[in-house]
Symmetry: C2
Subunit: 429 residues, 2 copies
């Protein structure tokens, strides 16, 4: 019976797994060097948990099911609700700020397309319990720190930064009604994906007043924070938001990633739950979806039954990132599936006992060691050693038969030396 894999999922054969490990291991070390602690939740949760933040529409995008106990469950499409649930449960005992990261496997029942699969991995970092702009800076810094460590320069990627607080204050200051903000955000969020005419039309319908619509369009097209002054008369809220943005840019400069960062009012983020700084990482050519995105949220814990504690965070999926790295040539020739320290070549079945003993001793000492199950010719076994990227090949043949000595061959220099078993182990250490 031949069975296929499900469309939109991936089979991680060793060479594909090596790429996944390269990405996920990098996420983990960037998180640790930036002072984050790792957490994870279950792969499935109660379905209703995902409806809290995203409403009933989300159900269509989830793999959901009913278990034998009649519970309505879903495979997680994101980890943020789990984070909120977990933090709420221990909110009184966790020292703040809570700096946590996670690398969950997530599933979404979407139509698979470029950069979007039905199963993927996502790096999440969050800082909860600090309202300081330093926390926002840390999240952005950590994101850039990782991407920079891969070899992506400020010519390859940009962190586009804006502020939902500034946007809200600006809209109120120019006379937009408070209750129409939430319906306006998704329209503004779509601007970069729409032709200019279509955006102007949508905006016009939503705002009605032509002058205001024009001011909003001008705001969205600003390329520097300093230009805002000429556009409207900022109230207290807007002034505070502007100060915060400018402090953030200063901090990112002090942390030496200023060249990666630009102010860009196009960054709105569709989700209603962002309340402060928002950002996205894009490839400089803007030819791909966002590589990462995030921002500050004030109401997330509260929405899940917890206290009003503010947080700021980021999510980065593996699919778009992998396309970008591959386009930039940053995945080439650096990802072997095997990296042995030793390969033990045995040229005579009678000597296999010696091969087994040496293999076991080297493994026990912590060295990646393999051997051939068959005492084939030396050439074939050296090929095997080479294919497994072995640093050293130990040959058990004539010299062992006659003098109990191993021929130790350096696979790079081709230099070789005769050694006793003790000398091989000693040299390894």
């Amino acid at each position: 019976m031949k069975i296929q894999s499900v469309k939109g999922t991936r089979d991680f054969y060793p060479p594909v797994m090596a790429v996944r490990n390269f990405i996920l291991d990098g996420w983990k070390s960037a998180s640790l060097r930036n002072g984050f602690e790792e957490y994870d939740g279950p792969i499935f949760e109660y379905l209703k948990m995902y409806q809290v933040k995203s409403g009933d529409e989300i159900v269509e995008q989830l793999f959901n099911f009913t278990d034998r106990g009649g519970r309505h469950l879903a495979i997680r499409p994101e980890i943020t609700p789990t984070l909120a649930r977990m933090v709420n449960q221990q909110i009184n005992s966790l020292p703040r700020p809570i700096k946590w990261f996670s690398i969950p496997r997530l599933c979404r029942a979407e139509r698979p397309q470029k950069g979007r699969l039905r199963e993927f991995f996502q790096w999440n970092v969050d800082i909860i319990g600090s309202e300081s702009i330093l926390a926002d800076a840390e999240v952005i810094y950590c994101t850039i720190d990782y991407l920079r460590s891969l070899g992506l320069t400020s010519k390859d990627i940009k962190a586009k930064i804006s502020s939902r607080k500034l946007l809200a204050a600006f809209l109120l200051d120019i006379g937009i009604a408070a209750d129409s903000l939430e319906s306006l955000y998704p329209i503004l969020d779509k601007k970069p994906k729409l032709p200019e005419d279509a955006f102007v039309e949508m905006l016009g319908k939503a705002v009605e007043d032509d002058g205001k619509a024009d001011t909003i369009k001008k705001f969205m097209e600003l390329s520097d924070i300093s230009e805002i002054a000429g556009l409207f008369n900022p109230g207290e809220e807007a002034k505070a938001a502007l100060q915060e943005l400018s402090d953030l840019m200063d901090i990112l400069g002090q942390m030496s990633v200023g060249d990666y960062c630009v102010f860009d009012p196009h960054i709105v983020r569709g989700l209603a739950y962002y309340t402060g700084i928002v950002f996205e990482i894009h490839d400089a050519a803007n030819s791909l979806r966002a590589v990462a995105g995030g921002g500050r949220y004030d109401n997330l814990l509260g929405d899940f039954g917890g206290p009003k504690v503010s947080g700021t965070g980021m999510g980065m999926g593996d699919c778009v990132l992998e396309i970008l790295l591959s386009e930039k040539g940053l995945l080439d020739g650096q990802l072997p599936t095997k990296n042995l320290d030793y390969f033990i070549a045995c040229l005579d079945t009678d000597l296999q006992g010696a091969a087994l003993e040496l293999t076991a001793a080297l493994r026990h000492a912590g060295f990646a060691t393999d051997f051939s199950y068959k005492a084939t010719g030396l050439k074939k076994q050296l090929k095997q050693a080479s294919a497994a990227n072995s640093a050293i090949c130990v040959i058990i043949g004539t010299e062992y038969k006659e003098k109990s000595l191993f021929l130790v061959k350096d696979m790079k220099t081709s230099g070789q030396q005769l050694m006793t078993k003790e000398q091989v182990i000693q040299a390894a250490k």
Copy 2:
């Protein structure tokens, strides 16, 4: 809205995550040093894939669902069918033997109990494409190599080894009909969990002939391979199986794990698909479920539409293992959730720029570094550094204000030294 996690799942808060990482990282390094390559499959597959190996009963134990495209899918309860599917797809291009490992997250819709959760991790190693007993030895060695590396001695755990080939040959040699073997295996497999009376009764019903039933019971209670000779007159198949078992024990001895290994005919393994060597790892006190189990399978690839290529493998879950490690005190005090290289304490808000620059420079150089968002008192910040297991605390205070010098404090020795920024970075490297 307060929402709970689903029963039988786990929330991995950082201290729990540290235990999970300790176990999973250990699995990974044991696999690599034993020459295995990592693979993984999707978290869900077509439901029918799981029915091939385990029949329709398995459906009840699965979390299964129908997606919007009408596909019947299930969250994976094991990775072996995925392995068979993946290997079959590339059987002609993969060099043999195929030595692969995986650490899948698995889900089973079972009633949660001690050592059994509805979501867990399982280490799998498989060697496909070699019929050599060396491959069986490698799988068993690798399993023990890992457990030994944790500090478990041959007094703590035993690898109980038997052979389905031997068992089948023995049963045929004493006159059991070939077509009743498959129904007999599950009964023999239950023996260790049943009171003697109950087992004798079940066996008697299945075999009918009292003499044969008694011989089978005696076989099951053998404690050494050599005792078999007196029990029945072995035919060719039985002789070959006995030779294989004895070779296996010799090899495990040569690989210096002989003291962990015992012959134990109680190891049958319920599943029909085992055809050769079978083994389980048990705690010496036998108070827990099996820590690991596996064996040789000849028909797995064929059952999934592939060629008749033999394999041998092992699975180890994280739940029973964690209980065992915890009982043996092997998880105590070794798993911090944070392990900083540097903590930057800043005693004056005006000096925060210097703190940010140094933090960023150390992180960029690859060192795990954190700092306080608030310029609180030194005592408090030293406490923070301590709580994060920081090796060094860099203090930015009076000396920095006056002479641009950092006070570098070794947290272990309490020794301290004044340095310029360049000296701090240099010393770090």
